[in-house]
């Protein structure tokens, strides 16, 4: 099976004297559903950041979608990110934009035609049950609703890789269920690789997944 993420002796941190991930070697298969768990401050989010080039490598190598992440150029990084969907715990929605414009963002960046973009936004807002909220601004929605918007945005451009950092962290049961269903759907129907950083894996998940755990800077697969 093709590997979408390959790390070899990968060390990450914030400066030479603060190594968080130390010489980790692992690989993630294309089309798989992966959980990364670990205690608070173990480096889960740090590792995820390195997958979309938000953190430079301290040493070792990291390939994401065939792109070498070490000293990656801005042009290559933009190209990679256009094929990745990211969900953050704090949503990261553009506050001055309406919900539908937020969802449309990756489509605009990827150069989709206006009518196709609008159709896709309509479809996704339907999936996250927020069609009626489309003209509102993020601050007018609840936390759960904002995360569903962020989820719709992450899926809008049919990415090959979806990275989610604690996507259901502080959400109510209903919103959490919608988020997990969408992530499952993206994996099974769109064949996107899904990497989720979380404290605990939901018990009701109906698909096969891989589980990596981080402890003392080491990343290992839990069998």
């Amino acid at each position: 099976m093709d590997k979408i993420i390959v790390a070899d002796n990968l060390s990450l941190g914030y400066g030479r004297h603060e190594t968080i991930i130390s010489k980790a070697t692992f690989a993630i298969d294309s089309g798989s559903f992966v959980f990364i768990t670990g205690a608070s401050g173990s480096g889960k989010s740090t590792l995820l950041k390195s997958f979309f080039g938000a953190l430079p490598l301290l040493s070792g190598s990291l390939m994401v979608g065939g792109v070498d992440m070490d000293n990656i150029s801005a042009k290559k990084l933009n190209f990679l990110r256009r094929h990745v969907g990211i969900v953050f715990q704090d949503y990261k929605l553009v506050k001055e934009w309406t919900i539908d414009k937020n969802v449309m963002l990756p489509l605009l960046i990827n150069g989709y035609a206006r009518d196709i973009s609008e159709m896709q936004v309509e479809k996704l807002l339907g999936h996250v049950k927020l069609t009626h909220q489309r003209s509102k601004y993020p601050m007018e929605l609840s936390g759960g609703e904002q995360q569903r918007v962020a989820m719709a945005r992450a899926l809008a451009h049919n990415p090959i890789l979806i990275l989610a950092d604690e996507p259901t962290g502080n959400l109510d049961e209903y919103s959490s269920k919608v988020i997990w269903n969408l992530l499952e759907g993206a994996n099974t129907q769109l064949e996107a690789t899904v990497v989720v950083v979380t404290h605990h894996i939901p018990e009701t998940l109906g698909i096969k997944y891989k589980h990596f755990h981080i402890e003392h800077g080491d990343v290992y697969e839990v069998s």
């Binding site: 950041k49 979309f52 938000a54 953190l55 801005a74 990084l77 933009n78 190209f79 990679l80 990110r81 256009r82 094929h83 990745v84 990211i86 990261k92 929605l93 553009v94 506050k95 001055e96 934009w97 963002l105 990756p106 605009l108 960046i109 990827n110 945005r153």
Partner: protein, 270 residues
Amino acid sequence: MKSLKSHFSLITALFSILITLQLFLSLDRIIGAYEQRLGDNYGIVVVSDNNLSLAFFQSIDSAINAVEPLSPTRMLQQLQQQTGDSQINLMALNLPHFYRLRMAHFITPDAARVLGERLLRYRAITRVETFAQQHDTVYRLLQLFKNVVSVLAAVVLLVTSLLIVKEMRLWQFQHRERMNIMALFGAPVWLRSAVLFRLAIVDAVIASVIATTVFLLVDHYGWMAQLLSLVQLQPTLFQPLHDVPLLTGVAISLSILLASMIVMGHKEEV
């Protein structure tokens, strides 16, 4: 509301710069008109044994654009009362030729002195009066005025630039979040900063429209023209065909520079 306040601050800063620039241009035109008037009234008196033509004088200095022969008649009439007719006729026959040279433009006192020396190298020319001392006083006063205006303009420019830098920091803060989010989805720099440039250009256009309106009103109601007419000056203070593109160009260039500095200073934060 915050955004409006931010726009207002940038427009005000740009407007101040444009007003300063236009005031400087207007004052330069007033000084230019005053120089022109001084130049028109200024003349070098030349005494020559021979009859000399304009072409002769222009071969010495092309800035000489007119030669007026000065008639000694009035002086001779005054002398006639003290002496007899025969002596006056004899004197008139032996008198040299007097000329007043007019210059094409206002010349500096040094240039007037040099011209006087060059004229005196010709044997036929026996005397030259450049009125250098009087000319020098007026000229230095004019220079002083020009320098004071330049210093004032520089001070205003400095203060408004500081205001713009402050505004730039505010903009950087306001747009950072959106630019970060767009970067996370792979937006190229031009797309991330498109909104910023659009806002900057819109603010620049608004500032130049306001500045243009103010100067058109001042020009229309002739407040400055009335004041200037007291000193017999009638310069065109506002030349729309020249000034409007200049003001708009300066405002747009400044705001684009401001937006570029924000874009260049932006660092991705996740």
